[in-house]
């Protein structure tokens, strides 16, 4: 039953995405200065939103784990961080492709780019930490602490990098803030299927985690004999 709901969600996301891409390519005119490549923003920005929604969900899940000690919250936490990292990577890479075409460089130490990269590294550290702990309950406990600390540092990262960068001349500025309303609504509307994909991936990962725990418990039972 649960899997059917997931398949349904995935199918719906695919339909929505196709519809959106069709509309992006045919319905919306090229942007005056950037040309065709500007459309990448419809994925770039929603990916960032999804990524941070995932990080936030992991924070909540980690707090719930420490309160209840139920391993399903640990599964939720690791699943959301993995999916968040995937969307974070999508965000960074799409940004780099855009930067290469518009600015002529792959990377610039713009504050948003830098902050996203630092957050990505922080949460990558979470996964590295998990791999180093053998026992599932200990792993859940330590990584919950890591997730809480990581999320707490995110606002500091954003503010510090922003201050740092605004004190220096920036190489190129975004042309944002005066986006056309058709573009803007497209941007938000494209967030919906991406979020659905994220939810689906998280759910699949959580099922894997549960089975992994079952396997681990069986192995321990066998070793006990």
């Amino acid at each position: 039953m649960r899997e059917k709901i997931l398949y349904g969600l995935g199918a719906l996301a695919a339909v929505l995405l196709t519809h959106n891409i069709w509309k992006m390519l045919t319905g919306l005119p090229d942007e005056a200065f950037q040309g065709a490549i500007f459309r990448i923003i419809f994925f770039h920005v929603p990916a960032a939103f999804t990524c941070f929604a995932c990080y936030f969900t992991s924070l909540v899940a980690s707090i719930l784990y420490l309160k209840s000690k139920q391993l399903k919250y640990d599964s939720l936490s690791v699943s959301t961080i993995e999916v968040g990292l995937a969307f974070g990577a999508a965000n960074l890479i799409s940004g780099m492709i855009w930067a290469r075409i518009i600015w002529g460089i792959w990377w610039t130490w713009d504050w948003r780019l830098t902050s996203s990269l630092i957050c990505w590294l922080l949460y990558a550290g979470y996964l590295v930490l998990r791999r180093a702990v053998e026992e599932p309950t200990e792993r859940a406990r330590l990584s919950a602490v890591m997730s809480i600390l990581s999320f707490s540092v995110v606002p500091f990262v954003f503010f510090s990098i922003k201050w740092f960068r605004t004190q220096h001349p920036q190489p190129v500025l975004y042309g944002e803030g005066k986006m056309d309303s058709a573009y803007r609504s497209m941007l938000y509307f494209n967030w919906l299927p991406l979020l659905m994909v994220a939810v689906m991936l998280v759910a699949v990962r959580m099922m894997q985690e549960r089975r992994q725990r079952e396997i681990d418990a069986l192995r321990r039972t066998v070793h006990a004999f």
Binding site: L66, I118, L121, L122, G125, V128, L129, A132, V133, T137, E138, R141, L142, A144, V145, M146, I148, L149, S150, S152, V153, F156, V157, F159, S160, I161, W163, F164, Q167
Partner: protein, 226 residues
Amino acid sequence: MLFLRQVATVAAKDLRSELRTKEALNASLSFALVILLLFSFAFDPTSEMTREISGGLLWLVFAFAGALILNRSFARELENDCLDALIASPVPAPALFLGKVAANYLLLLGIEIVCLPVFGVFYNVRWAQQPLWLLLVLVLASWGIAVVGTVFSALTVNLRLRELMLPMLVYPMLIPCLMAAMQLTTPLLAGQPVEGDLLAWLRMLVGFDIIFTALAVMLIDTVLIG
């Protein structure tokens, strides 16, 4: 009152055994000197550039050297299962933690105080033009490093590859703290006072210290007792 005495007992214990062997201290100091030396190959040490990046340079040295101190902090408790003996005692986990933070903090400050004049000599920087402000920045930023570093020292103490894990996890976490310290230190070394925009960085340091001390004290029980 009792809490403070327990913190002091743990801190004194750590300092005494560190000062007796000087394992981490020697390693950390010589590492700091090596990095100071290596930096001189990365750019021309006499140029105007030294002045512009001096803050960043200095704090990178402190952060690298600090990792060695922090690594030892809980690793020291592993021999003979001393950590169990400490946790089983009636000392609450936050007192144990703050005692260790205090010891690491003092060791860090010690290393920084030694490195500053060396840095001044090697790179021809008159570092003591704003001594009080500089001291304030050292005091605030080192506390941030000590608190976050000690949490991760506790978090990684039982893990495989502990020595590799700690810097990997700690440095991204410390970026705001280090960045604020770098931004403040560069003008201070050039002799400018802290004013205007720079005050915001000072506030950031204070905020970082307060929030992470509070979080660490809240979470340390969970970290230490499984």
